[in-house]
């Protein structure tokens, strides 16, 4: 037992830097998911038939983008976008490079989550805003987003957790973070203890993200 702890302590710095890298990748991709995915989701919903700005061609395109983005397995997406990643970051290896495919996966995911969250809003509530003379822009910012905020926050939580697992996959192609450590030390050097430790850290990380997400969502939820 004592032996195991000293063994692990040797890797303390490694684990801390790995965890920070993972958090950094997830946070950056989450940022792009918010900036890109939420508007994508909002536009998809409001251009649906019967919503506030119906536009069949635009809706078809946006819905298609979300579906295509969501149907490519992450490991393939990661490899497929290497040229694009090089173009933006200058390299395809490392933490910064991993943020590109992570964001590309997170944006359509968040788009669908937002779309679903907004669709949950009672049509009557939107109609009442229209009856008061609200413009589509006012409806988006004063009705759709505030009313779906708790659901969007839970969706962000879901996205963050997916990103934690995707970021571990990014480790497979030299993306850095805990996944990278697990593969290099745990798998390639057969250091089972390191492998277990990364798993424990990942589990704790996911638990904390979910807990925080639930707390924030219920803070904004006044439906019950």
């Amino acid at each position: 037992m004592f032996d195991l702890i000293t063994k692990l302590a040797r890797y303390n710095d490694l684990m801390i830097s790995g965890s920070l890298e993972t958090l950094y990748m997830v946070a950056m991709a989450l940022f792009f998911a918010i900036v890109g995915g939420i508007p994508l989701g909002v536009l998809t919903t409001i251009t649906r038939e019967g919503h506030i700005l119906p536009n069949k061609p635009l809706n078809f395109v946006l819905d298609g983008i979300i579906n295509i983005g969501r149907s490519i397995p992450f490991i393939i997406l990661m490899v497929a976008v290497i040229p694009f990643t090089r173009m933006i970051v200058g390299t395809s290896i490392g933490t910064n490079a991993a943020i590109v495919p992570l964001s590309l996966a997170a944006i359509p995911f968040m788009g669908r989550v937002t779309d679903n969250a907004i669709l949950e809003i009672d049509q009557g509530v939107i109609e009442s805003a229209q009856s008061m003379g609200a413009s589509p822009l006012q409806i988006v910012f004063k009705v759709l987003l505030p009313e779906s905020l708790p659901a969007i926050i839970l969706g962000l939580t879901l996205t963050a957790i997916s990103l934690v697992s995707y970021s571990a996959m990014a480790g497979a192609i030299g993306g850095g973070g805990l996944g990278d450590i697990a593969i290099r030390y745990g798998y390639q050097r057969f250091q089972l203890a390191v492998m277990l430790e990364t798993i424990v850290i990942l589990v704790i990380m996911v638990q904390l993200i979910q807990y925080a997400g639930n707390q924030i969502a219920s803070f904004f939820d006044h439906k019950a």
Binding site: D122, G124, V125, E127, S128, A129, Q130, S131, M132, G133, A134, S135, Q138, K142, V143, P146, E147, L149, F220, H222, K223, A224
Partner: protein, 340 residues
């Protein structure tokens, strides 16, 4: 004044073309509470939703104070909608905002400054009697309270017209009564025009000045409440009225009449002041007939007494005939019930 001409709404559904409203004409005066009643599927919801163009008419015009809503650009329509309040069956409040936030919402849309918004919203919340609930969220309110918030919200931009889409249909009888009373008070205080749709004749009876009966996308009968209640013409109208005032003889009376074979059965209907005069004792005194009240129903419609009595008149035939013409000459409606 609101003037609707040749209003038509057709739409395509899975079952084919649906003609929701068919060439409807209607005029509503300022300050009037106008009710529209009809069975489900009659087109009343489509009709009221066309009055602020939530539903786009297929053809026809909707004139509100001289402006034809159907001709407005979307920007002008938004401005016009700010002067048309609307309340809904399911309240449609924003769950993310408090009572104060909900009432201030239309003011926010209209671009009113924050301080003014707060002040106006607080006044309206007081008007609807919810001052102690201003910081509550809709989920913490009862149905009746939610509808009061809905009313306060609908009044925020000082509308000329208030549309009520089955506003009391999901409320219990007590809340319904208090919400209707509130609407009546608001009309008197603000000289607002209210158009409401309902499937409950009780709502019409309690607060409307005039009523139109809708069937299959058309108005089949309309008039003042007293006229409609005292002289309904169409079977559907009679059916709605019988839901609040029962004209039919109870089984017990029918059985009695059939077995005992009394004299002449008549039904006397009266409205208003006539209830103060002692007709029946006149009959007995001056026409030597015996009048036995078998069944009766006296109600009040917005302070006007209104009722029917079923009388069994016994005596000589000529006396009975004379007494019937006497009642008629006094302006009462008399119906001889030959076959019960």
């Amino acid at each position: 004044m609101i003037k609707i001409e040749n209003l038509t709404k057709h739409y395509h559904a899975a079952q084919g073309r649906v003609e929701a409203i068919n060439g409807l004409n209607l005029e509503v005066d300022d300050g009037e509470i106008f009710g529209m009643i009809g069975p489900s599927g009659a087109g009343k919801s489509t009709l009221i939703r066309m009055l602020n163009l939530l539903e786009k008419p297929t053809s026809g015009t909707i004139n509100i104070n001289g402006t034809d809503l159907t001709e407005l650009s979307s920007q002008n329509l938004r401005a016009a909608r700010q002067k048309i309040g609307m309340i809904f069956q399911h309240f449609n409040l924003l769950s993310s905002r408090t009572v104060l936030g909900n009432v201030a919402f239309p003011l926010e849309i209209a671009g009113v400054g924050k301080k003014k918004r707060r002040k106006k919203a607080k006044e309206l919340i007081e008007l609807v009697g919810l001052s102690d609930r201003a910081d509550h969220y809709p989920a913490q309110l009862s149905g009746g309270q939610k509808q009061r918030v809905g009313i306060a919200r609908a009044l925020a931009n000082d509308p000329d017209l208030l549309l009520s889409d089955e506003a009391t249909s999901s409320l219990d009888p007590e809340s319904t009564k208090s919400v209707l009373e509130l609407l009546g008070e608001i009309r008197d205080e603000m000289n607002l025009t209210i158009i409401l749709i309902t499937h409950e004749m009780g709502v019409i009876k309690d607060i409307c000045d005039r009523v139109a009966v809708l069937e299959a996308g058309q108005i089949i009968e309309d008039g003042s409440i007293i006229d409609i209640f005292s002289k309904p013409q169409k079977p559907l109208t009679k059916k709605f009225i019988s839901s609040v005032i029962d004209f039919n003889l109870p089984e017990r009376i029918i059985k009695y009449v059939k077995t005992e074979r009394p004299g002449e059965l008549i039904r006397v209907s009266f409205v208003g002041e006539k209830t103060h005069d002692p007709y029946i004792s006149d009959l007995v005194k001056h026409y030597s007939v015996d009048a036995n009240i078998l069944y009766g129903n006296i109600d009040e419609i917005q302070g006007v007494p209104f009722g029917t009595l079923v009388l069994d008149l016994e005596g000589q035939l000529t006396n009975i005939e004379e007494s019937i013409s006497y009642l008629k000459s006094q302006g009462l409606r008399v119906e001889v019930l030959d076959n019960v």
